[in-house]
């Protein structure tokens, strides 16, 4: 079957996990893994028969057959990569905090962003919680949304640690920009317990219309949507109402493709990126399904 060729830049943990997920894709072919030094990640990709390069983005830009590029480097490199990819006519799926393009959370707004040349995956906390905020907002209105994301210390890399403010600020922005809450706040907690905790996310929403049944059904629908690309996404505590406050708790267990299962926080962002890539690739191949015109992440 014909597939769209894609590349991953940044062969670290995130890039390697992306690679394994892309290898399973129906619509994408893992064409190239690009790095800047001969790292373990590049060797791993080469051992799977994937083209690799240590020349960074250059060979990716030069290969016209590559249509979609996943950037798993960092904010600074992506700021340089973004205009180059755009000029080369390639779609950028950005897993860094650079946020050059609009935020994408697949089950909420992917259908509105088919034409965007650059899509940003927000944060892991954003991917886990924005769908819930949106699900509540669409039936009850959301004056305010607050999330608490707790992740295992072991699954927070140096990038997150050295720039933790970026996580809270970006996630809070996405609660409003994508989740459509009027105000947003995000909190992140690192827990070093052994064995490592799986990611848990508490979502508090102050609603306009506390209709318990509608909220519960909407949230359950949304959880199923997210499960279509993140099987370990589960409702831990269903929406509990207390006046206008709705409390929902979600847990995210990783698929264990490359990263350990407790790293649900990393899995949800790579899974979302691949879900975005799959949909765009299917569209390029003319295999778009009518239901994709609506709000749906299912492939």
């Amino acid at each position: 079957m014909e597939k769209i060729k894609v590349a991953v830049i940044g062969p670290g943990n995130i890039g390697s996990d992306l690679m394994y997920k892309i290898l399973r894709s129906r619509y994408m072919k893992m064409e190239m893994m690009a790095g800047i030094v001969l790292s373990e990640g590049l060797k791993r990709a080469a051992s799977l028969g994937i083209r690799t390069t240590t020349e960074g983005i250059k060979p990716v830009l030069e290969d016209e057959s590559i249509k979609i590029v996943f950037d798993a480097t960092g904010a600074k490199p992506h700021l340089q990569h973004a205009p180059l990819l755009k000029a080369a006519g390639k779609i950028a799926i950005d897993l860094t905090p650079a946020a050059v393009g609009p935020y994408v959370v697949p089950p909420v707004n992917l259908h509105e962003l088919y034409e965007a040349p650059n899509l940003n995956l927000v944060t892991c906390g954003g991917q886990a919680t924005v769908p819930i905020v949106y699900a509540i907002q669409r039936v009850a209105g959301a004056r305010y949304a607050e999330i608490v994301a707790a992740i295992a210390s072991k699954s927070a890399g140096p990038g997150t640690r050295q720039n933790i403010d970026e996580f809270t600020q970006t996630t809070a922005k996405a609660l409003c920009a994508v989740g459509k809450a009027q105000k947003g706040k995000a909190i992140i907690i690192l827990n070093p317990a052994e064995p490592p905790i799986i990611m848990t996310n508490t979502v508090y929403v102050e609603v306009e219309n506390p209709d318990e049944k509608a909220i519960r059904e909407s949230v359950e629908d949304m959880v199923r949507e997210v499960q279509s690309y993140v099987p370990g996404y589960r409702l831990r505590v269903p929406p509990l109402l207390d006046g206008h406050k709705v409390t929902t708790i979600i847990e995210v267990e990783g698929a264990g493709d490359f990263l350990p299962k407790y790293s649900g926080n990393l899995d949800i962002i790579t899974a979302a990126a691949v879900a975005v890539g799959d949909r765009l690739a299917a569209k390029m191949l003319g295999k778009e399904r009518p239901e994709w015109q609506k709000r749906s992440a299912s492939i």
Partner: protein, 339 residues
């Protein structure tokens, strides 16, 4: 020694004490108490939401007034002392610290879980750049062995912290635990070392003295022992005890007693005693700020608060995970209902 040994006090009545009044301090109260502390000679006066700057939330409780309003009220009352704020990375950000600096804060305590000092590097760096006194503050230090506390303290020192704290946030340590951890840190770093106690096992004063004996020179305290859980080390008692032991704090004993009795006591919501749930915090090693949230969840789900706390301890929850109180209460209620 002819000269008395100097101990630096950080009064946290208006920060950790804020937990005990569910963050309802008014700017007038903050003004009068910080003015009283300053006149009594307290060196560092900490003002913030109990969970630090930007703690205002569903998760930690909504304050009656904003950080900004309370900080401005304190700044206008403090003449000699140093207005201090606490910031927990992951909750507060550098933007919040900027606001506090604009309000007159001159010292910042960057608080992380005892194993996670590296998430505070940015904030220590910013505090230094802005000319603040910076403190690294290692919460829940009882959860790891002394060498680990020392390793993390060293990280804070490497980021430029002026002081590093061992915090017994769960009030779970015995004096030997304090000596081992404070001693290990003192052996590892060149900067001054502090200790923050909670009174859940009625050991706040004893542990503070143990910390001094192990080499600490900074201590935290709150008037009338106000604070999360069973509260903190009681400022006026600590001042008296230190006087008897021959330490110098520069705090006027009578004046600080008057601040506690005339300004703080009248606005307390409940007596600061060791009730059963507070005792369980210390016994099970659970973050003291969980106390009042646990009472609320126990009432809502018709549970014994002690059961919730024991389960939180078993799960090794860390500071800031107040949301897991709901999770535990919900799961316990389901189990009860389901059987």
């Amino acid at each position: 020694m002819a000269e008395a040994k100097r101990v630096h006090l950080v009064d946290s009545t208006l920060r950790d004490g804020s937990h005990a009044v569910s963050h309802q301090f008014t700017p007038e109260q903050v003004h009068s108490i910080s003015g009283g502390l300053d006149a009594a000679g307290v060196e560092y006066i900490e003002v913030a939401h109990g969970d630090g700057l930007a703690g205002a939330s569903y998760n930690y409780g909504w304050p009656a007034y904003s950080d900004e309003e309370r900080l401005k009220a304190a700044a206008s009352a403090i003449k000699k002392g140093i207005l201090t704020v606490l910031l927990i990375p992951g909750i507060g950000t550098q933007e919040d610290l900027n606001m506090a600096i604009d309000c007159g804060a001159r010292a910042v305590r960057v608080a992380t879980h005892v194993t996670e000092a590296d998430i505070g590097e940015q904030h220590i760096g910013m505090g230094k750049k802005m000319g603040m006194r910076t403190f690294g503050f290692l919460m829940m230090s009882h959860m790891v062995p002394p060498e680990k506390v020392a390793e993390q303290a060293k990280l804070f020192e490497s980021y430029g912290a002026d002081v590093v704290y061992v915090a017994d946030s769960a009030g779970a340590m015995l004096p030997e635990d304090v000596k081992a951890r404070v001693g290990a840190v003192c052996a590892e770093v060149k900067i001054p070392v502090g200790f923050h106690a909670h009174n859940n096992l009625s050991l706040a004063i004893a542990n503070s003295i143990a910390a001094l004996e192990a080499g600490a020179t900074f201590l935290d305290c709150c008037c009338r022992g106000l604070g999360a859980g069973a509260g903190n080390t009681q400022t006026e008692v600590l001042v008296g005890v230190l006087k008897k032991l021959g330490y110098e704090t520069n705090v006027d004993f009578y004046r600080i007693m008057d601040v506690a009795e005339k300004l703080v006591e009248p606005i307390m919501h409940r007596p600061q005693v060791i009730d059963n749930a507070s005792l369980m915090l210390g016994y099970a090693g659970v973050y003291s700020s969980f106390l009042l949230h646990t009472y609320r969840a126990a009432e809502k789900f018709n549970l014994d608060p002690r059961d919730i706390l024991v389960e939180l301890g078993r799960r090794r929850m860390v500071g800031g995970q107040e949301d897991m109180i709901i999770d535990v209460a919900y799961q316990l209620a389901q189990q009860k209902g389901g059987n």
